[in-house]
Symmetry: C3
Subunit: 193 residues, 3 copies
């Protein structure tokens, strides 16, 4: 220790103009911003509980985590359902409100609201996705956990709709809106789905 | 003052290697990024006008502002209605398109579109939220103003749907999309609800 | 060149206290963060295919690009339809689920689901927007391309719903979720519409 201190004292003064100094500083700033911590974090809110809208948060989150980003998904409101046990058995596609959903058979929107139509659309979408080799929600949730993505259930929604911790799949964490804010304020990618 | 100036002139050249210099620079960058201005700002677009979707922007915004962040909510499209006078009296929950909304009684979705069903769902949700001690929209709007959150009405939507400034609750500001961009580009948390 | 090199060698050691040094470093950091690269980038996901929800991503994106930001819109899920040829001829406003949509005539929501009602709402919205001098989707897409905004079609959605590259308007690029993540992690404004 003493020797190191004496070594420091012996450091020779380098001839350094203010211009040189500013150049060095700019180099360091460039290097630091290349590893900008904001570009390493992704925080997503998943608020919807239909099969179609369960996909986007999981697809973006797994792509982010696969790129090495520290990623969290906060499941809240209707989205909470996505991480309950048995979601994929019960879930339906929301047909109404999606006139852009391409249907094999044209279908007036009023029929889209009839009992049975959702089941049909859901089964059609499941078939389309599996034919195309797209992962199921179950597979994406498993991938998410393998990639270390934090799956967080919103405590307030749990209270309002009377969910228990035991209603959720394994690995789910529990937190409030403040936890989302604390994570998202450090992240460049923040999305509300 | 004179004495200080003469003190500066007298500053002795410190023995400083380039390595020392880079260490000091990195310290300063670390300190600066700890108070990264992006982590201090939150800009949210609230585009939906139903009771359920009025909650998320207000909940995230108040959590952000309570954490000391400079926070704005831009009310646009259907969301403009949330900051009009009398919103909570007139508002309805959107039942269709939310098959995940947990209902006490199972209900085929076609019934969810019938007149009267929305009123029932809205009243059920109001009861659920108030039983659980969740703030009402009116209370959240008041909290938002107390926390200094900017509540901004989108001028373009006002023009298209013929709203007047006098249609809005107290404290609302008026601006266009450029104002959102100007705020959001400085913010880490940016959400479209 | 030789003279400059010899000039550099001749740079005299400036009297620089550590305090002076830290002041200079802080100045440089302030200057660098004023041109924070995050504040120069905007990445938006457009996931909805109705006329009303086609507007927000295009309005925010054109406002961002007009402010000099490098801007991308990733069209995915139902949003893919917005950049297909002939979108504005076929598109409908989603009436259900928008109880806040101000209608000239009050209308029970069940009627909003009847065939013909969407066409009426769409035509009403087109009229309202054109009366108010708001650009059409076609005009906004053209403006977007003029401003150099990247319009990107999601390859996975194209595969699932069997779109061909030739189904899209001119200038569209094709990429996957990883491309969105790679762009968005560098951007302060990231939105999911």
């Amino acid at each position: 220790m003493l020797e190191q201190a004496s070594g420091d004292e012996a450091a020779t003064t380098i001839g350094l103009s203010e211009e040189d100094l500013r150049r060095i500083v700019r180099e360091e700033i460039r290097a630091a911003s290349a590893k900008d911590p904001g570009s390493q974090r992704c925080a997503i809110i998943a608020s919807k509980g239909t099969l179609d809208w369960a996909y986007p948060p999981l697809i973006v989150a797994t792509a982010a985590a696969a790129s090495g980003m520290e990623t969290s998904i906060f499941f809240t409101f209707y989205g909470l359902k996505v991480i309950t046990k048995g979601f994929t058995k019960d879930v339906k596609v929301g047909t109404t409100g999606n006139p852009a959903m391409p249907m094999p058979v044209p279908m007036a929107d009023v029929f889209a609201g009839m009992p049975g139509m959702k089941a049909m659309a859901t089964s059609m979408m499941k078939t389309k996705f599996s034919k195309k080799g797209v992962a199921t929600i179950d597979e994406l949730l498993e991938l998410a956990r393998d990639l270390g993505i934090h799956l967080i259930a919103c405590r307030m929604t749990m209270d309002v709709f009377e969910y228990e911790e035991s209603d959720f799949i394994e690995g789910v964490e529990f937190a409030g809106a403040a936890a989302f804010v604390s994570e998202a304020r450090k992240a460049h990618i923040t999305l509300f789905v």
